[in-house]
């Protein structure tokens, strides 16, 4: 018996290996999960940034260079989200496949719905503005679908023999996402037009999709930490408009949000904007489950309307 299994193993080992999985690196865990959804076991996926870290300020560690060096495909958020750290990693990867513009470089934003594309003159007096539009676009499930489609298409192009596999994985994801969207829409239906305040401009696509209304930000300008004057103005505005929900990304300090909460009676909700932001958030769909549950619980608790 043992001999048999050894022989079987030997045969297996010498048999032509199953098609090698496409080696994918992604900038963020959201893109990593969407790649897993459509890539299944034919894609080996790893993310550079963790879900609980500020994606603007990832460190360009040499250990990432080693991973990029072996990648067949690099999927990036784009819209200059990674401008401070990804270009030097790509350059040092010595990997022709993942250079900007090469076949193995996929900018997920190119097929997504992008909001807040600035018009008119731009200066840094406006803070760290993103001239190509808001890069937090994955927080709209519609964009999640578009990203997944773009990744599935790219994987099919890279591994044509597996195209049918990727297409069926995408169809399955599309179906599950559509079901989840029905659930989320039902959950959020009673709160259309609810006014909220967020820390950073991370949520335009999210609030657009779920019908919330952002009336202000804890940051006086994108990327600029809270200032006393702005905080006082914001507190006044929140009181006037009776805003009871304050959404904060997990990588920001809670001191200012909490003092705003104390002044206004608003509930500070720490909402992870990415997969992996909390242990429970294991994939793209559970990201929305988690955030919407927290949000609805906070709305009910404060009686916000």
């Amino acid at each position: 018996m043992r001999l048999l299994s050894i022989v079987a193993l030997a045969v297996l080992a010498t048999a032509p290996p199953a098609r090698a999985a496409v080696n994918v690196m992604t900038a963020t865990e959201d893109l990593a999960d969407l790649t897993r959804q459509v890539g299944g076991d034919r894609a080996k996926v790893e993310s550079i940034a963790r879900g609980y870290q500020d994606p603007h300020f990832v460190e360009a560690k040499p250990s990432f260079i080693l991973k990029l060096a072996k990648a067949d495909l690099l999927v990036v958020v784009g819209r200059e989200l990674e401008i401070g750290w990804l270009p030097s990693l790509i350059q040092q990867s010595r990997n022709a496949k993942v250079q900007v513009g090469a076949d193995g470089y996929l900018d997920a934003s190119l097929t997504a719905k992008i909001l807040e594309i600035p018009t008119g003159q731009l200066t840094r007096a406006m803070g760290d503005v993103h001239p190509l539009g808001n890069p937090h676009y994955w927080l709209d499930p519609g964009n999640g679908r578009r990203i997944a489609k773009a990744i599935a298409d790219k994987l099919s192009q890279m591994a044509p023999a597996d195209a049918a596999y990727f297409a069926s994985r995408y169809a399955d994801f599309d179906k599950r996402l559509a079901e989840a969207e029905k659930r989320w829409d039902a959950t959020m239906a009673p709160y259309k037009g609810l006014k909220v305040v967020t820390y950073h401009r991370s949520w335009p696509n999210f609030v657009d999709r779920f019908g919330l209304d952002v009336i202000g930000y804890v940051e006086p300008r994108p990327g600029i930490p809270p200032s006393p004057g702005h905080t006082i103005d914001l507190i006044g505005e929140m009181k006037r408009q009776n805003v009871k929900i304050l959404m904060v990304e997990p990588y920001f300090d809670l001191k200012t949000p909490q003092s705003i909460g104390r002044e206004t009676g608003a509930k500070v909700v720490v909402l992870p904007p990415s997969v992996g932001g909390e242990k429970e958030i294991t994939d793209y769909i559970s990201l929305f489950d988690y955030d919407l549950n927290l949000l609805v619980a906070a709305i009910k608790e404060t009686g916000a309307k």
Partner: protein, 421 residues
């Protein structure tokens, strides 16, 4: 000096000409305004004509753009009409503002570095108020095979090419190759531009052993390769230079200067990592035709930055030691020096640092200078900082130590650069 600045002005004007393409006619306008006005009436008329022409071209361009977008939309509509239920077609158009050949202009930035100093220093030290340098950078991809980076520094006394090189990032065999003028890959601090240093000045060891502010920088060729191994990041760099820098002077064409660098890096968890380096530099030093200088260096860095609070806090410990063997007419002199540096970020905008300096002098190793600094940095945003440094230095050839206060304003405009690591 004046001529030099005039040529800079011409250079900048040429640059702005690059930025504006004909349909916008901005550069042309500027030139017209800059030129002495001829007779006012004819000037107005030609100005009007020019404006009209610009408008006409502008509108022609816009109509063409709108037509192409309509065509694109019709294409999308046809797609949508097809039986397969496509997800909503991508509503994103390429940013239209960056039109024409302008998109191929390099990323440009200017960084101002203003340094002030107070207190007594035996050698005079830094000037009281000094625009130490303005650095202009131009960076872009050249073609599918290479990118280029230029850094021009405008100092109070000189205009110089700080670095200017082409990089081939994807040569076969994994050889990351650079050709041009570069700062040598010797240790950590030598490779850094003044505005990326965590202190106002360079450590004593840089001044005494590796060429001070200019440091080791030369024209040459650099090749760097990762050394595959299952344990850690290991990169070996080999460089050959002309032999024309603060330390090296080649008497003949054949006397190149060489630099070798080995870097090892390892993550110790997601927040902590360790970075080790060893460097060697060798070349003729120009004292006589046969004398050479050999430098050996080791550096070690420990970093800690918790990912969940990465914008609020980090800790860094770094040490660098350099050994110099400088050939003199009457035999070689051996000198050693180094610095230790601790850095702690205690607020989103606040970082403090502590540095200890100790270095012999390359040509007079019996003289040993020591010093200590406390550094406080305030960063209003990613694009500016204000820094103060208290520095106490005991020079070997003076009796009383120098107590100085340095302060610095750093400000950057233009393209968003890479975050330092």
């Amino acid at each position: 000096m004046r001529r030099c600045f005039r040529s800079v002005t011409a250079f900048v004007l040429a640059g702005s000409g690059l930025v504006a393409v004909p349909p916008l006619a901005v550069a042309a306008d500027e030139v017209v305004q800059a030129a002495p006005p001829p007779s006012p009436a004819s000037d107005d008329l030609s100005q009007l004509k020019g404006d009209l022409e610009a408008l006409r071209q502008d509108y022609a361009g816009r109509v063409a753009a709108i037509e192409s977008r309509i065509a694109a939309l019709e294409g999308h509509a046809a797609e949508a009409a097809a039986p397969t239920p496509e997800p909503t077609p991508a509503p994103t158009a390429a940013p239209s503002a960056a039109a024409g050949s302008k998109v191929f202009n390099p990323d440009m930035a200017a960084i101002g570095n203003f340094v002030g100093a107070a207190g007594k220093s035996p050698g005079g030290g830094e000037p009281s108020l000094n625009m130490q340098e303005a650095e202009l950078s131009f960076q872009a991809v050249v073609d599918p095979y290479a990118r280029a980076d230029f850094f021009v520094t405008l100092g109070p006394e000189e205009v110089a090419l700080e670095e200017g090189y082409i990089t081939f990032p994807t040569l076969p065999g994994g050889f990351l190759t650079k050709v041009g003028k570069m700062r040598d890959a010797f240790g950590k601090v030598n490779g850094q531009h003044p505005h990326t240093l965590p202190f106002v000045d360079r450590p004593l060891v840089s001044k005494n052993l590796t060429g001070g502010e200019d440091g080791l920088a030369d024209a040459g060729i650099s090749v760097a390769r990762l050394i595959p191994n299952p344990w850690l990041f290991l990169e070996a760099t080999g460089q050959a230079y002309q032999g024309s820098s603060a330390i090296f002077t080649a008497p003949t064409r054949g006397d190149l200067a060489y630099v070798g660098h080995l870097r090892a890096y390892q993550d110790l968890g997601e927040s902590t990592n360790i970075d080790l380096g060893g460097s060697i530099a060798y070349g003729h030093n120009g004292v006589t035709d046969d004398t050479t200088t050999r430098l050996l260096g080791v550096d070690a860095t420990l970093r800690w930055k918790p990912l969940r609070r990465s914008i609020y806090t980090h800790f860094l410990a770094r040490g660098e030691v350099t050994w110099s063997r400088a050939g003199q007419a009457d035999g070689a002199q051996n000198a050693v020096g180094g610095y230790g540096y601790l850095e702690y970020q205690f607020g989103r905008r606040w970082t403090s640092g502590l540095r200890y300096d100790n270095s012999q002098r390359a040509e007079a190793p019996w003289l040993r200078d020591t010093g200590g600094s406390f550094i406080l940095t305030f960063k209003p945003s990613e694009f500016s900082l204000v820094r103060a440094q208290y520095r106490r230095t005991s020079f070997a050839d003076t009796d009383s130590p120098a107590n100085e206060l340095l302060f610095q304003f750093l400000f950057a405009i233009g393209a968003h650069g890479a975050h330092p690591f």
